[in-house]
Symmetry: C2
Subunit: 203 residues, 2 copies
């Protein structure tokens, strides 16, 4: 990939933060266009023309080509770097954790955080929290089990699956998860924070 | 990949059907171990030792290596075949649709089908159906918009993203979606059914 990419995103969204983290670790310059999905900025006609699914993050290249879905963008930006494995098996294992993140992890842990942080205390969606916390705890159990055998999630080494999983795991307490229940997850979070180029999420 | 892979799966699950469809299109022999997740077969100690996340499909290779997550398995099996693009941009666009499928499509369209087909008529989860149908209709709108510009979802051609999206789109009527509202989706389904090696889902 050539040129300087533009990211449309909300800095406090874990899905958007993934791209900040990878681009900072790669030391790659980029433009960031603040796009506040919590205030309707992804539902304007202008934004929907860029991404008909009405979601951030969105990557736009110099020549106008656009790519949606945080984890697909991570794979694209990491192609040819140490953050995406090259063997088909290690790449597949990396993708396995990235699909796990979007299907079994984010819809519980990120959604619990959203309800706790952005919705009023008497909002009816608070009723979802017990079920979200039960399912989110299961996702953390699955990560803990993996970390008893391997130090990272990206085909044996550190890479895009770790970045994808770090995004909402490191702030899971915002949604009411007590991370001390998962000590190996805690030490993995520290290993990620110690990586060269690491940058924290804006809160 | 060498040898004959084994798929643990439920034939009537769209996520499992994806693997049947790709393997049949590739003309590749495989073993299928019926694993009925609707009757607890993914919650046994024996199965959880294979996949700690307790889900099908699961791919097991001759040498015992295991891979979960239907869309990660599709990418692995399609590596080196015409069903997975080789350029980084087309591969990224393919992954974009596969993450869309797992995040914005399956959790609405497949879950509506599950509630309608497998739960009793008076089950409390029926209350979720209006919201699932609204969000599922949006996913079909996004597909329809894409199909107004391109014939397939896998980086310009037919491939694993089409297989992933076909799995639950073709049976969306089971969940109460009237596919006649999305005519381009309807003609795309016919194009997929016309591909060499196509096999229908067991119902």
């Amino acid at each position: 990939m050539t040129g300087m990419p533009t990211v449309y995103g909300l800095r406090s969204s874990g899905n958007c933060y993934k791209l900040q983290l990878l681009l900072d670790m790669l030391g790659r310059p980029y433009r960031w266009v603040d796009t506040d999905s919590t205030r309707g900025a992804t539902r304007t006609a202008e934004f929907l023309a860029l991404n008909p699914n009405g979601k951030v993050p969105l990557l736009v290249l110099d020549d106008g080509r656009r790519l949606a879905e945080s984890n697909a963008i991570l794979c694209y930006l990491a192609e040819g770097t140490p953050y995406l494995p090259t063997t088909s098996w290690d790449r597949a294992r990396t993708l396995q954790w990235m699909f796990f993140e979007q299907y079994s992890h984010e819809p519980c842990i990120a959604v619990a955080r959203f309800i706790c942080r952005w919705l009023p205390e008497d909002h009816e969606r608070r009723a979802e929290l017990p079920r979200l916390r039960e399912r989110g705890a299961h996702a953390l159990d699955v990560m803990e089990e993996h970390l008893s055998r391997e130090p990272f999630f990206s085909g044996g080494g550190f890479g895009v699956a770790d970045i994808a999983l770090f995004a909402y795991t490191h702030c899971a307490a915002d949604g009411g998860f007590d991370l001390s229940r998962w000590p190996l997850v805690g030490t993995w979070l520290e290993r990620v924070r110690a990586r060269p180029g690491f940058s924290p999420m804006s809160v």
